[in-house]
């Protein structure tokens, strides 16, 4: 049993309810393609007992934050001018397939970059659309019946990263801010990426009281492509009046990605205080 089969088999064990669902399991969670091989793949699995129509396409987008710190990814069909996009020269085979119950399908991703492509990292988003059959609702069995059916379609969007040459990455962090309200400490982390590749890592937030004792912790996976200023809410419960500190460490590690695809970078640490009156 190869690695991918073990992954899929184990996932089914963890999510038995998926056997009755419309949709597909997609592995891995992100695709990294090296210029030397110019190819990658994903594996799809239909765990349900109904056929699923699957289509694969590419778009462009990366995580950004708005003024309130909410994270968004706007996926467009094509990349704006000047962006390091791989969208135009990636192809998936096959692009459309109907998967029967408990079918498995490998989708190969081939890259045909333009000649003379400069060293760097190029981005795209892979969109896997899965559509099951329409399920009409049975109405009353007479000629005046109005029955309503809604077709479900699910789309899974994952990152595709193409890398050429030696790459560097890192983040710098502007002064953080923290506030407490409604039993929650809200932290803003204004970050800017450095180097030639997106920063992939994890932010770990620790709220401590005046004695240094930890009151709450939170961690978030990060993808910093340019500037990124997310709001991280840390539930802490009711805090007695006093002075508190928020300690943040941003490090280049991810528990959901193979270590070999996460580019190394020195950790960044910062702290900020707040007072509960």
């Amino acid at each position: 049993m190869n690695h991918t089969t073990r992954v899929l088999a184990a996932l089914l064990t963890l999510t038995p309810a998926a056997l009755l669902a419309q949709g597909v399991i997609v592995a891995p969670t992100a695709v990294f393609i090296d210029h030397a091989t110019r190819a990658g793949s994903i594996t799809l699995y239909n765990p349900g007992d109904q056929p699923v129509e699957v289509s694969v396409s590419f778009g462009f987008g990366y995580p950004t934050t708005d003024s309130a710190g909410a994270i968004r990814v706007e996926v467009t069909d094509s990349a704006p001018a000047g962006q390091p996009a791989a969208t135009a020269w990636l192809q998936a085979f096959p692009r459309r397939v109907t998967m029967g119950q408990q079918d498995r399908q490998t989708i190969r991703i081939l890259a045909t970059p333009p000649a003379g492509l400069p060293d760097g990292e190029y981005w795209a988003r892979l969109i896997v659309s899965a559509k099951g059959g329409q399920v009409p609702v049975a109405g009353v069995p007479d000629s005046g019946a109005i029955s309503v059916g809604l077709t479900l379609e699910v789309r899974t969007v994952i990152a595709v990263v193409y890398r050429k040459g030696a790459l560097t990455t890192g983040v710098t962090m502007a002064p953080m801010s923290a506030s407490y309200a409604n039993d929650t400490v809200s932290v803003r982390l204004p970050m800017t990426r450095t180097g030639t590749a997106a920063y992939v890592g994890t932010a770990r937030v620790r709220v401590a009281d005046s004695r240094g004792a930890t009151r709450a912790e939170e961690e978030r996976a990060l993808g910093v492509y340019y500037s990124f200023d997310p709001l991280i809410d840390v539930p802490v419960g009711p805090l007695p009046p006093g002075n508190y500190m928020v300690h943040v460490t941003v490090s280049a590690d991810r528990s959901d990605l193979p270590p070999k695809v996460v580019l190394p970078a020195p950790p960044v640490r910062d702290s900020v205080g707040f007072t509960v009156k």
């Binding site: 690695h3 073990r6 992954v7 184990a10 996932l11 963890l14 999510t15 309810a17 998926a18 669902a21 949709g23 597909v24 399991i25 997609v26 891995p28 969670t29 349900g48 995580p63 994270i71 968004r72 990814v73 996926v75 969109i127 899965a130 329409q134 399920v135 009409p136 609702v137 109405g139 009353v140 000629s143 005046g144 019946a145 109005i146 029955s147 309503v148 059916g149 809604l150 077709t151 479900l152 379609e153 699910v154 789309r155 899974t156 969007v157 994952i158 930890t214 009151r215 709450a216 912790e217 939170e218 961690e219 978030r220 996976a221 993808g223 802490v236 419960g237 528990s255 959901d256 990605l257």
Partner: protein
């Protein structure tokens, strides 16, 4: 709080120990269709996202503490026989997000919704259909598309 994060870390550690590569896959699946049942002309019918039988339900599974952005493509009308349409609306609490560590959190399916998923999450959706008093009888249908972007 600390106990919640520690519980997540414990589960994550056990999972990775037992199935080291197993959780590097994700699934987004439709579990249950949004069902309005019998619809009477002239009488709006609402299904709450908390309805345990009729609400639509999706599930995100196999994710390790990932930020996701959830968006819906929601049809304004359903299409029926001979070009007839029926209005379909969604309010700012027509969707809900639930995980093992977090009870149902309502959200607006008309705008992008950002959350953190640990292993599994359930997204539910309700809605409201408004048939006219002279609504043509027959089958009405529309697609609901849920897009999950893994950040």
């Amino acid at each position: 709080m600390r106990s919640t994060l520690h519980a997540r870390r414990l589960l994550l550690g056990v999972a990775l120990l037992v199935l080291p590569g197993a959780l590097r896959a994700q699934s987004v699946t439709g579990i249950r269709n949004l069902t309005f049942g019998t619809v009477v002309p002239g009488v709006p019918t609402t299904v709450l996202q908390t309805d345990g039988v009729r609400s639509g339900q999706f599930r995100i599974a196999g994710v390790l503490i990932r930020n996701v952005t959830i968006t819906f493509t929601l049809p304004p009308v359903m299409n029926g026989p001979a070009g007839a349409t029926m209005p379909l609306t969604f309010t700012n609490t027509s969707a809900g997000f639930t995980t093992v560590f977090q009870g149902n959190t309502p959200f607006n399916p008309n705008t992008p919704y950002n959350e953190t998923v640990f292993l599994n999450a359930t997204i539910s959706i309700g809605g409201r259909v408004s048939p006219s008093p002279t609504q043509r009888s027959g089958n009405y249908s529309a697609p609901i598309v849920m897009t999950v972007i893994f950040l």
